[in-house]
């Protein structure tokens, strides 16, 4: 239990902090994505950043982090804009709109990469953008007034997490209404479109920052899994927000221990633990856990196959 902490507590402490910050930022945004049936948008952005990276490289002739981050961010914003545009201006459903937008942008990136790769140059997100959570504590600490505060990626992610928490408090009512009933939102005098684009812009910032900090595996998963776990346990948004925070804490801590125990990828282990929490919530949710449903079926003999719960949408 104490193995990671006994000897290198500070090192693993930063990894744990990073895991929680990424989990909270992605999870809170994820709660809204699930309600809007846009859970896969994180996966989409993980692919569609590629053309942004190539363009940023062609403009700056550099593969350094700020240039790549800017390129990825612009590509992310274009992706979410494109998704919404396709969805609004055609009869394409959100999931299909996501697929059209990101596959097109990714393909564009692959074409551009193979054009410049003729010079023997190497550009891909895995190698030049995605960070690695295991290396977070190795980053030199940022100093303020001569006092070492902590590794730069952790501080940046803390800023992102604070912004996400702040925005979801300030725009709580607007986001709540618009996530369920865009029509009602407009009649209440809120601008539904502006809210949506705002949410999507925040999403791009969160996702790209988190890619840069910990890589894609964890980000794509943490946009969906904490929110889905919370959705099994409660239908109230504030409760779900709270559960997402709890989920981040448990999955990060358990994942860190799992990865030290098996000496495997930390990001991967945190996601596996997060998924395990989802399965537990699914099985033992007090309101409609699978186990209770099985037991009920066993006792009164009537199956419940007919009731298909709509995940994330039943609020």
């Amino acid at each position: 239990m104490i193995e990671p902490w006994a000897e290198s507590g500070a090192l693993y402490g930063w990894i744990l902090a990073m895991g929680i910050l990424v989990g909270v930022s992605c999870g809170l945004v994820g709660n809204y994505l699930l309600l809007r049936r846009m859970a896969l948008v994180g996966d989409a952005i993980s692919h569609s950043v590629l053309p942004g990276l190539v363009v940023a490289f062609m403009l700056t002739h550099s593969r350094n982090i700020p240039a790549m981050f800017a390129g990825a961010l612009v590509a992310g914003l274009i992706t979410v804009g494109l998704i919404e545009f396709i969805h609004k201006k055609s009869r394409v459903k959100p999931d299909a709109a996501i697929c059209i937008a990101f596959t097109t942008l990714f393909a564009l990136g692959v074409v551009m990469t193979s054009l410049i790769d003729k010079g023997g140059l190497h550009i891909d997100a895995e190698c030049i953008l995605y960070g690695e959570i295991a290396f977070v504590p190795l980053e030199p600490p940022v100093e303020w007034f001569g006092i070492a505060i902590g590794p730069q990626p952790v501080l940046l992610m803390a800023g992102v997490a604070l912004a996400v928490v702040g925005l979801s408090v300030v725009f709580y009512k607007e986001l709540l209404v618009s996530s369920f009933d865009p029509g009602l939102t407009t009649s209440l005098g809120f601008n539904a479109a502006a809210l949506h684009y705002g949410l999507m812009a925040v999403l791009s910032v969160v996702v790209v920052s988190a890619f840069e900090a910990v890589g894609a595996v964890m980000v794509v998963a943490m946009l969906i899994i904490p929110g889905m776990t919370a959705a099994q346990l409660s239908s109230r948004l504030p409760v779900r927000h709270g559960l997402v925070v709890v989920h981040s804490g448990i999955s990060s801590l358990a994942g860190l221990h799992l990865s030290v125990w098996l000496n495997c990828s930390t990001a991967g282990a945190m996601v596996v633990m997060g998924a395990l929490l989802f399965v537990l919530a699914w099985l033992f949710s007090p309101s409609d856990g699978l186990v209770w449903r099985w037991r009920r079926r066993g006792s009164d003999g009537s199956g419940e196959e007919g009731t298909v719960a709509s995940p994330g949408g039943k609020v």
Binding site: M1, S8, Y12, G120, E139, P140, H257
Partner: protein, 314 residues
């Protein structure tokens, strides 16, 4: 809770070692004069090999990337961070070979940590760069033995800095390593000369052999580009097949750290045989013998690669 069992098991497994160490430490003079060994961490096998040659008995080298690992895409395990944090000095290849990990190392170096890209003092004019993108150097310079030897001074200086008492020892073993590398370079030149110049054509799956080609007079055709991620384009494959037929190349080669699918396809279409598996971005396992060479060492790997190429093209 998860980690209670393994840690207990690990201690039990190490118990004989711990006891032995306890007994040994009673006897004087069994360790280096100033007691403890310097701990050095190294990324790839090629880097670790050079550090071992210079460090000798005074340095304990911890190699992060095992055999067959692609350094561009290395996924660190959870304990890598403690291995790196415990190291007195860290060596990496540099020139973006290690991808994002290299960025972290560069930042650590800037903040004053003892972290060194061993390629940093290699003669800049000898580095290859794509014509359109200056400064984005090809990192695979270990296949030109004379260039890899240029990394030795950086390692000697770095180790002497971390362990001033060993300065003379490092300079001595560094000079010996330099002599071995010079001999190896001569051996390579002689081995390559067994092939007539027009037969020195090396077709492989990615462009890891440009320095090798320049040093030993081979024309190098990589189907995939420098990175191991980019898939080969259809026109690349067709062009390579035409080239092989035109030049009547007898054999083409697969690499241990890259998927062989493309090369096998080209082999089928062009009629050239697959001449063997070459090492590129990673060496073999420690003590692994292939073709009479210990491919777990830099020297053995270089000799194995070249004799495989020469054997298949003759």
């Amino acid at each position: 809770m998860l980690s209670i069992l393994p840690s207990a098991r690990r201690i039990l497994r190490k118990l004989p070692l711990i006891l032995a160490a306890g007994l040994l430490s009673v006897g004087p003079g069994l360790f280096a004069a100033d007691g403890k060994k310097i701990k050095a961490a190294a990324t790839t096998g090629m880097v670790a090999d050079l550090v071992r040659q210079v460090g000798g008995d005074r340095v304990e080298v911890d190699q992060l990337m095992g055999p067959g690992v692609d350094p561009h895409l290395y996924k660190p395990a959870a304990t890598d961070v403690t291995r790196l944090a415990r190291a007195d000095v860290i060596f990496y290849s540099g020139l973006m070979l290690e991808g994002r990990m290299g960025d972290v190392f560069a930042k650590m170096a800037r903040s004053g940590k003892k972290v060194y890209p061993i390629t940093e003092n290699v003669t800049k004019s000898r580095l290859l760069e794509p014509p359109e993108f200056e400064g984005h150097y090809d990192p695979h310079l270990w296949f030109d033995v004379s260039m890899w030897a240029e990394c030795l001074p950086t390692i000697i200086t770095a180790l002497s800095d971390a362990d001033p008492a060993g300065k003379a020892a490092y300079e001595k073993s560094g000079a010996a390593a330099k002599a071995r590398m010079t001999a190896l370079h001569e051996w390579c030149l002689a081995e390559a000369a067994k092939l007539p110049a027009e037969k020195r054509i090396l077709v492989t799956s990615h462009d890891a052999y440009n320095y090798f080609g320049r040093a030993y007079g081979f024309k190098v055709v990589g189907i995939q580009g420098v990175s191991t991620v980019t898939e080969a384009g259809l026109s690349d494959i067709a062009k390579t097949v035409d080239f092989i037929k035109e030049k009547k190349v007898k054999a083409i080669f697969v690499e241990t750290s890259v998927s062989p699918a493309t090369i096998e396809r080209v082999s089928k279409d062009s009629g050239a045989t697959v001449g063997g598996e070459l090492f590129s971005d990673a060496m073999g396992a420690p003590g692994e013998i292939k073709g009479g060479h210990d491919v777990g060492t830099y020297e053995g790997m270089v000799k194995y690669n070249l004799s495989t190429i020469v054997g298949a093209l003759q």
